[in-house]
Symmetry: C2
Subunit: 293 residues, 2 copies
Amino acid sequence: MGSPLGCGWESEGLLVQPLPTIDAHTRALNQGSPLIIIGGAEDKEREKSILKAFLARAGGSEARLLLVPSASSMPEILAEVYRLLFVQLGAASVEVLNITNRFEAELDENVARLHNSTGLFMTGGDQVRLCKLVAGTALARAMQQASTAGRLVIAGTSAGASAMGECMIARGYSGEPPKRNIVELSEGLGLLKDVIVDQHFHNRNRLPRLMTAVASQPHCIGIGIDENTAVVLHGDGILEVIGEGTVTVVDGSELVYNTINDIQSYQPLSVGNFRIAVMAQGLRYNLRERQTL
Amino acid sequence: MGSPLGCGWESEGLLVQPLPTIDAHTRALNQGSPLIIIGGAEDKEREKSILKAFLARAGGSEARLLLVPSASSMPEILAEVYRLLFVQLGAASVEVLNITNRFEAELDENVARLHNSTGLFMTGGDQVRLCKLVAGTALARAMQQASTAGRLVIAGTSAGASAMGECMIARGYSGEPPKRNIVELSEGLGLLKDVIVDQHFHNRNRLPRLMTAVASQPHCIGIGIDENTAVVLHGDGILEVIGEGTVTVVDGSELVYNTINDIQSYQPLSVGNFRIAVMAQGLRYNLRERQTL
């Protein structure tokens, strides 16, 4: 644990009772273009409403899409699945950028391909694999800059969603109460500040691990996204829910106790009080004010 | 759904935006003797700390225990397991009261056996089975009265824990976001007012169903208890956590929105903000004030 971004257990001086006041206003999150953060298993066969929502925001019939399948162990196959989908949905062009080593993620020609695109889509797989290849590279910086400048709509599903954060959930376990060893944090792509994303959320019993992650980084807000569900995060910090399931927001800004730095990693955690909101399609949430709209 | 106690979806006039103010002070919960509410799978082989805690409060070496295994489909076997355990732990006497029909739960001689006891232990199984046999009978009333009068320490594990509430979770599902059809509520034994108990809690991914139950009955507070973990609920409404896991308190008294009565049972629920506390051994919570101590 521990990373250059201070994402890890050891690097924070949390706990203590009473807890320090958390600034309930998160830092500027993304700015500029919306981010589309998808909880995995997005419907690819029927309505395809989430994929359509991404495509519409990335330019619709004018969209020039770039697919990044590098989280996957079968990147070519997965890229072809999404390529066909977006072609059928009417994108002007759909290209694949399959980064297989960090050198490729530093190449000017690959950065240039990103600058020629209006939308970038990161597939599922393993977020650690994706970030080992891309985090901290010229490509990652170009993604951040193009998004902030309002020139690139970025979407990610499953691992591609988790990877968006500055701090991300690398791995975790379910079926246990909150304790340090049920979640491992690492450095993500940095598109989202002060936000920790989790996916396949209620489907895979991930609320305890997201609560644990927020307990360890209480300046961050946790966002758990169900399958077939997505967050459209606008540049002003307004989160909008679309799809069939729910988005769960875990806000630790009012924690009154938190034993995460007092206990061994295998011991159960005491932490309260979280403020937890569950939101279905149509609800919106202001991440800066930490309030439902 | 729907019951004489108003426990059910149809019987409440919840929702509406803004929500009515919930009285954050629960009704008198139990009074008198402590209740020992166990999340299932309590350690029977090693430390046996939860069983010892019950025995100590029920009189220790002076304890006259009554086992009620009626939730189980194998009541004789389960009763014998616990009988041997409590005999080995030093109880003065351990008897079995296996109610198999409601007639037996009305018999004076069975009520008299309860009045001769200092502790009563309800096993796991199916809480619906137990309540069909016992809820609303002379035996259930005698349990309530003896507990309130401080003459009987009542413990229940798993189904025996869920059954304690006036309103109980009869059945539920996991792996889905909160929606009405992931939990079914029915009438319990009535030992606990304004409290909904859930068990095997983080082990079986039950936080979404407990949040849903509290969304439907927001005057109730939800208590989710992990395996090998118990709540000692004192007569003054102070809850104390013992055991290896955690107890999760779901407080809906500050909900700002709740769509439970606006949606179909299969649609995902929007509800926020819950206040959620996770507590390991040693932490205490005041159910009347809804505050950690």
